[in-house]
């Protein structure tokens, strides 16, 4: 092992006020308005699905949340973790931790909205279907990640351990998928991100794409917000330690 110097690329001279909770986080405001717009559009201006009825509308919350959690939040945790082990910059650790926390929130939304829809359409709150099981274990994995962060006092150790766990988690996801898919699956198959053209009428498709966009924006806003909190905490610790 070469010597590893952990550094924090945020300059120490940055005044704490920069992170202070004064002022309004306009990005967050815009993101929340966009999500509210999505809800209004989905409820009032999108056709009701013929066989599923109004229950199908939960799809405009469920699918974008899953997209954000899996493809944005947890992907970023893996990338930031790998980069941390390489560059040893605490900034990357804060990005990974923030993204994991926001990702857990979105996964919780997925795991809450799914059963509500499932009760109406499948007749059961929960079933040990491949996708449900995989999502549940993903949730457990990242909740474990957050629990572990809380259990380590030393800042540098917390960063290193989290990066190792974040990276191993990324390796684990394909295996969980593989093993649960060897069971049969009951979940509706992808209807937008699939090789052939999306099989959704234009009215619904546009609402869904709008939902993807607004949820992604909400993710970015929450990530930024959470990152600032992490940076402020680190700075507080540094000042108390000094």
């Amino acid at each position: 092992m070469s010597e590893s110097v952990v550094r924090d690329s945020t300059p120490a001279t940055v005044p704490a006020e920069r992170y202070a909770a004064g002022g309004i986080d306009w990005l967050l405001v815009v993101a929340i308005l966009a999500v509210i717009g999505t809800f209004i559009r989905a409820i009032y201006f999108t056709p009701v699905e013929a066989t599923q009825g109004p229950a199908q509308k939960i799809f405009y919350v469920h699918a974008p949340s899953a997209f954000v959690a899996l493809y944005l939040a947890f992907a970023l945790v893996a990338v930031a973790s790998a980069l941390f082990l390489w560059l040893k910059d605490l900034k990357l650790d804060r990005v990974a931790a923030s993204s994991a926390e926001v990702g857990v929130v979105f996964t919780t939304v997925v795991l809450t909205t799914g059963p509500i829809w499932g009760k109406e359409i499948w007749g059961t709150w929960w079933t040990w279907d491949a996708r449900l099981t995989a999502t549940l274990f993903l949730w457990f994995l990242f909740v474990g990640y957050l629990v572990m962060r809380g259990a380590i006092e030393d800042r540098m150790m917390r960063a290193r351990y989290s990066a190792v766990l974040g990276l191993l988690g990324a390796l684990l996801i394909p295996f969980i998928h593989l093993s649960v898919y060897l069971f049969r699956t009951l979940h509706p198959m992808p209807i937008v991100l699939k090789p052939s053209a999306p099989s959704l009428p234009p009215g619904m498709l546009h609402t869904l794409l709008f939902a993807f966009g607004s949820f992604a924006l909400l993710y970015v806003a929450l990530l930024r917000f959470r990152y600032r909190l992490a940076a402020a905490r680190d700075e507080l610790d540094a000042r108390e330690g000094a």
């Binding site: 457990f140 474990g144 380590i152 006092e153 990276l167 684990l172 295996f175 093993s179 060897l182």
Partner: protein, 227 residues
């Protein structure tokens, strides 16, 4: 002269096994836990509606997992007293060798617990022996390698945290899903007398998991040590 990674790993494994062999506390606790678990699980189901043999694979793998965790917990705990880990780190062996040695000792430990647990479950659940002994043994070995690869790394990590005893299962169990699920499914098929071909898919999952995580955990281990 620096010893090679492999011989250093063997040396560390021998040291750990010698400690365990002289005290035998962890092994006996794990074995008692396993046999006790097998007995208690029997009463968790109505034996008139579910045949004991149908429960056996699940019981077996749940017991392996938890008994394995008991042993893994100890792996780096023994290095805490008198900060023995500092001695290991100061010794002229590659960091990877420390991990591999620890993992090897754990593999022997988990393997020994597996043997006793299989016998206990076979006895209590009238498991038919004979048909696929070799395939079952291979299955148990592949699963144990995966369990130990991930568990040894996490054991090194949680030992430095608060909540160590609780954190090891919380971190490890999601990683054990792609081990326990194929192992239990394949065990069920083999015990039902199905041909080995039918479990080839599950065996492939286990082999892939073992390769990926032995390599990944060996590479990741140096990052978990204090500099």
């Amino acid at each position: 002269m620096e010893p090679s990674v492999l011989s250093a790993a063997l040396l560390i494994a021998r040291k750990d096994l010698a400690i365990e062999f002289r005290t035998r506390t962890a092994f006996f606790s794990a074995v008692v836990f396993g046999v006790l678990g097998a007995a208690i699980f029997y009463f968790a189901w109505d034996p008139t509606s579910v045949p004991a043999l149908d429960l056996a694979p699940g019981v077996l793998w749940v017991i392996f997992t938890f008994a394995g965790l008991l042993g893994l917990q100890r792996s780096f705990n023994v290095e805490l007293s008198d900060r023995a880990i500092d001695g290991l780190l100061a010794s002229p062996v590659p960091r990877e060798a420390i991990y591999l040695g620890k993992a090897l000792a754990n593999l022997v430990f988990v393997g020994a617990v597996e043997v006793v647990a299989i016998l206990a479950v076979a006895l209590f659940y009238s498991m038919p022996f004979g048909t696929h002994v070799f395939a079952l043994g291979l299955l148990a070995l592949l699963a144990a390698v995966g369990l130990v690869a991930v568990g040894t790394l996490f054991s090194a990590m949680v030992v430095n945290t608060r909540l160590a005893e609780l954190l090891l299962p919380v971190l490890s169990l999601p990683f054990f899903v792609p081990i326990v699920m194929p192992a239990a499914q394949a065990t069920a098929k083999l015990l039902a007398g199905r041909p080995v071909v039918e479990v080839a898919g599950w065996l492939k999952v286990l082999i892939a998991f073992d390769i990926v995580f032995v390599v990944a955990c060996t590479l990741a281990f140096p990052f978990t040590l204090e500099e």
